[in-house]
Amino acid sequence: MKENKDTIDKSLKRKHKLQTKDVKVFYDDFMAIKGIDMNIRANKITAFIGPSGCGKSTFLRLFNRMNDYIDGFRMEGEILIDGENIYKKKVNVEQLRKQVGMVFQKPNPFPKSIYENVAYGLKIQGIKDKSYLKDKVEDSLKQVGLWNEVKEDINKSALALSGGQQQRLCIARTLAVEPSIILMDEPTSALDPISTAKIEELIYELKEKYTIVIVTHNMQQAGRISDYTAFFYMGELIEYDKSKKLFTNPEKKQTENYITGRFG
C-alpha cells in the first residue's frame, strides 16, 4: 500500500515540475498574491495572463527567488520544484537560479562582448576551460539561431545588437548554464513583430528540453505557443486549464471578459 503511494508521488513529481501551496506574497502590508495553489507540468509551456498589476511578475519571480532582494517583500506558503521546497533555509539560492533561468521583459545584456555574455553563467561557476567555454557558447548561440548572425562579431559588444538579437542572446545566456526551467516575463513586449515571431518559434522548440513559464499580455501569443494558460486577477488565480480549453470555452465569467477584451 505504502509502496504504491510512493510511486504515485514520484510520477506526480515528474509530471508536476513546479508546485505552489497556498502561496501569499506581501509587499509591506499590501497583499499582492492571495493564496495560490498551482501545479505546473514538466516540458510544457505554461502562460500567465491577466491585467497589469494582477501579480503575474510577482508570482513568476517566486520560482527563482528573484523577489528576495525587494524591500518589504514577504512570502507565506510553499513552493516546490521537483518536490523540494525552495524557500527552505538551507537552499542555495545561486544553485537554484542556475537550475531556474530567467528572461526579462527588456533585453538586458551585460555591457560586455557577446561571448562574455553567454559565457558569464559558466564562468561564475568557476569553469575556466577555454575550449569547453567556446563550444558551449557556440552551442547556445546555435540553439537560439543567433550563431550565423553573430559568429564574426563574437567579441564585439552585445549592446551593438538589435533588440530582438539582444533578447535571443539573453535566452542563449540562460541556456548556457543548462537550467531545467526557464521563466520568461513578457519577453517579447519590447520587440517588433518579426523578432517576436522568431522568439515565439524558439520558445516552442525549447519546450522539448525545458519547462517554460511565460508571462504575456498578448493573448494571441499565449494561444499560439502555450500548452496551459493561467488567468490571474487581483492576486488570485481565477482559472487554469489547457490553453485550448481556456481560450475557447472558459469556465469563469471573469476569464471570458478578459479574453474577449471586455476589460484589462
Partner: protein
C-alpha cells in the same frame, strides 16, 4: 556545487570585509577624538579661552586666534555669500545652455579642485601685495571667500534646481518677470538648501590653515583684531604653531584647541544637516 559553495563563502567574507571597511574610518576617527579629549580636556577652562597667547604653555590661551577666526568667518561670509548666490542664480536661471554657461561650468568645476594652498598664493600676490591690504583680516577673508565660492555656487544651484517647476510656471503665468520670480519665489523656496550649503562651506573655511599661512597670517598676534585691516591669527594656525613646538605643554594646548575647533566644525555640520532635513521635508 562545490564551486557554488565556495562563491557563497567568498560572498560572506566580502560582506564582513565591507562592514569592517565602513566602520574602519569612523572608528579611527573616534579613537583619535577620544585620545585628543583625554589629552586636552583638562586644559580647557575659561582662562584658556580668554587668555592671550604666551611663550609659557600653561599661561597661553586661544583668545586672539578664536577672535581671528570669528572675524575671518564674518568677512568671508559677507564677501562670498552675495557673489556665490548671484553667480548661481545666473547659471541656473539666466545662462542655461549658452556657450558662456558651459565655460563657467567647466571653470567652476575646475576651481573646486584647485588645492587650497594655491588660493593662498593668489591671495598673497593680489590682496596682500598688489591691493596692499597686508596680512590683514580682509586679505584673509577675500582669499577664503574665493576658496569657498565654488562650493557655495554648486550647492546654491542644486537648491534652486530642487524647487518644483510648477512654482516657476505659476509665477510666470501670473505675469511676474524673471527677477520677480527669482526673488519672490525661487530664493525663498530654496532658502533652506542654500543656507545648508553656505554653513558647510563656512565650516570648511573655519578649518583652513594653509592659504592663511601663505598670505602671512601670524601664529603670534598679541591682540584680537579690532578692524578688518588688522593682523590676525586663526585657530588652526594657532594649533599648527603649538604642534610645531617641542615642549610637551604645547602639545596639550594643541589638543585642547583642537577640541574647540572640532566642536565648532561639528556644530556647524550639525546645524547644516538640521536645516537640510527641515528644508527637504518642507519641499515635499
Amino acid at each position: 556545487m562545490n564551486n557554488i559553495r565556495k562563491n557563497r563563502i567568498k560572498d560572506q567574507v566580502f560582506k564582513f570585509w565591507g562592514i569592517a571597511c565602513t566602520f574602519l574610518g569612523l572608528i579611527l576617527l573616534m579613537i583619535f577624538i577620544g585620545s585628543i579629549i583625554v589629552d586636552g580636556v583638562q586644559r580647557i577652562d575659561w582662562s584658556f579661552i580668554t587668555s592671550l597667547p604666551s611663550r609659557k604653555a600653561e599661561r597661553a590661551g586661544i583668545y586672539t586666534a578664536l577672535m581671528g577666526s570669528v572675524w575671518i568667518l564674518i568677512f568671508t561670509t559677507i564677501i562670498a555669500l552675495p557673489l556665490g548666490i548671484a553667480a548661481a542664480i545666473y547659471l541656473e536661471e539666466y545662462a542655461k545652455e549658452s556657450k558662456l554657461a558651459s565655460l563657467l561650468e567647466v571653470n567652476i568645476s575646475n576651481l573646486a579642485g584647485v588645492p587650497s594652498i594655491i588660493y593662498g598664493l593668489l591671495g598673497l600676490e593680489v590682496f596682500v601685495r598688489i591691493m596692499e591690504m597686508g596680512a590683514s583680516v580682509l586679505a584673509g577673508s577675500f582669499t577664503l571667500a574665493l576658496l569657498i565660492l565654488p562650493i557655495v555656487i554648486v550647492s546654491t544651484r542644486e537648491s534652486i534646481k530642487a524647487v518644483p517647476k510648477s512654482i516657476r510656471d505659476a509665477s510666470f503665468a501670473l505675469g511676474a518677470s524673471k527677477w520677480q520670480t527669482v526673488s519672490q519665489q525661487l530664493l525663498p523656496a530654496s532658502f533652506g538648501g542654500i543656507l545648508t550649503g553656505i554653513i558647510l562651506a563656512l565650516s570648511r573655511a573655519v578649518g583652513e590653515t594653509a592659504p592663511l599661512i601663505v598670505i602671512g597670517a601670524l601664529a603670534y598676534v598679541p591682540f584680537a583684531p579690532e578692524s578688518p585691516m588688522d593682523e590676525f591669527s586663526v585657530l588652526p594656525i594657532q594649533i599648527f604653531n603649538w604642534i610645531s613646538r617641542p615642549q610637551h605643554g604645547f602639545e596639550t594646548n594643541a589638543a585642547a584647541a583642537i577640541i574647540v575647533l572640532l566642536l565648532i566644525t561639528f556644530i556647524m555640520n550639525g546645524i547644516a544637516v538640521y536645516f537640510r532635513n527641515r528644508w527637504q521635508s518642507k519641499l515635499k
